[in-house]
């Protein structure tokens, strides 16, 4: 069983969607934190910084403005975990 979850980074002007994410690092208002599958349900404030998204194939980084993270996970494996990052601005960083 792979521990994958889906991630949406949503801004008013564009969105990024991933469904095979293994790990996300976000700039929380109290410091960076990581999200993996089966994270506790939480809603957290984000501050400006860099979001790192690790999927099965690659790692992508985004610069983002302040926002909110909404983490929804279910203890059963039937419903996939969903992580939603609402930020006003997000841009993919070139490597």
């Amino acid at each position: 069983m792979k521990s994958l979850f889906s991630l949406d980074i949503v801004t008013p002007t564009h969105s990024f969607s991933f469904d095979n994410v293994t790990y996300v690092k976000c700039p929380g208002s109290e410091g960076y934190f990581g999200i993996m599958k089966n994270h506790t349900n939480s809603i957290l404030n984000l501050k400006e910084g860099v979001i790192s998204v690790k999927t099965e194939e690659k790692e992508i980084q985004f610069s983002c403005s302040a926002g909110i993270a909404d983490i929804n996970s279910d203890s059963t494996d039937d419903i996939p975990d969903k992580v939603l990052l609402l930020v006003e601005n997000a841009q993919e960083l070139e490597k």
Binding site: P12, S15, S29, I43, I68, L86, E88
Partner: protein, 285 residues
């Protein structure tokens, strides 16, 4: 002959007007489509923001959050969204008329007017209204930051207790041929009706109150952004219809002028032939 030349020139000028209006119509149609796409893209963000607010707001005491707190209304702010340019039928005049009525109803000196678009700005500054802020020249390349900046001005006025209620008056896009004139209350935010009372077991960081406090301005900004896009789509749709009518009218005029031109030409030929015939008859005699 002077008449013939005159007519020819008029046909030429009307034709070139027709070409211009036709081009303007096509440009407007493309702009409507673009604005519609932007609106579509902004929807998930606004839906999710609203959803989060509805989930968290019931868990905090709203007395501590200024943006949702109702208070006695002594002063109002009215945001009027118009365009920078005309040529769009009654698009601007209908917004301005409604705004003026609303302002007069509450008292001219107790209403702060925020103008978006040159048309509103020109109208209300000339007539001695209390115009606090005017924004224009941004429609062509408006971004979410523009909406953000505008929202911050009225959120500031509300937080500083300068105004106790904020309304927006704008055209909402319905179809290409019709717009709805809207007046919406934006502040204080009223969420009570769609409260989601289900009890969620969540961790909050830093805490619910702080999260709601950071969510509410985001909600207002995206709402402003959508209202601006609605107005922009309506403006371009109205312009499209106006230009379509102008093109049709030009077509009618050209038809009439051509008929007149042909008549005049025929008349000239007939006269000329009569002259030739009578001249040759005189020679035979």
């Amino acid at each position: 002959m002077a008449n013939l030349k005159n007519l020819q020139e008029r046909i030429k000028s009307v034709s070139s007007i027709q070409q211009v209006t036709k081009a303007m119509k096509m440009v407007a149609a493309a702009k409507v489509k673009k604005a519609q796409e932007k609106m579509e893209i902004s929807r998930p963000y606004s839906r999710n923001t609203q959803d989060l607010i509805c989930r968290i707001l019931p868990q905090v005491s709203s007395a501590n959050i200024r943006l949702v707190g109702k208070r006695d209304v002594k002063n109002k702010a009215i945001i009027v969204i118009t365009s920078d340019r005309g040529f769009a039928g009654s698009f601007n005049s209908s917004v301005i008329r409604l705004a003026e009525k609303e302002i007069e109803k509450f008292g001219k000196d107790k209403v702060q007017v925020f103008c978006l678009g040159k048309k509103a700005s020109e109208y209300f500054s000339k007539r001695d209204y209390n115009v606090v802020e005017s924004f224009y020249d941004f429609w062509k390349d408006m971004t979410f930051d523009t909406a953000s900046e505008i929202s911050e001005t009225f959120i500031g006025a509300f937080n500083n207790l300068e105004v106790d209620e904020v309304y927006v008056i704008y055209n909402r896009f319905r179809t290409l041929a019709s717009q709805d004139l809207m007046i919406e209350k934006v502040l204080p935010i009223d969420f009570t009706e769609d409260y989601n009372v289900k009890n969620y077991n969540y961790d909050y960081e830093p805490n619910q109150e702080r999260i709601v406090e950071s969510l509410l301005p985001k909600h207002l900004k995206v709402q402003m952004w959508q209202q601006m896009l609605e107005s922009y789509s309506s403006e371009e749709a109205a312009r499209m219809i106006a230009m379509d009518n102008a093109t049709e009218n030009a077509k009618e005029i050209i038809k009439e002028l051509k008929l007149e031109f042909n008549k005049a030409r025929q008349e000239a030929i007939t006269t000329e032939m009569l002259e030739i015939v009578s001249g040759s008859e005189a020679l035979v005699d």
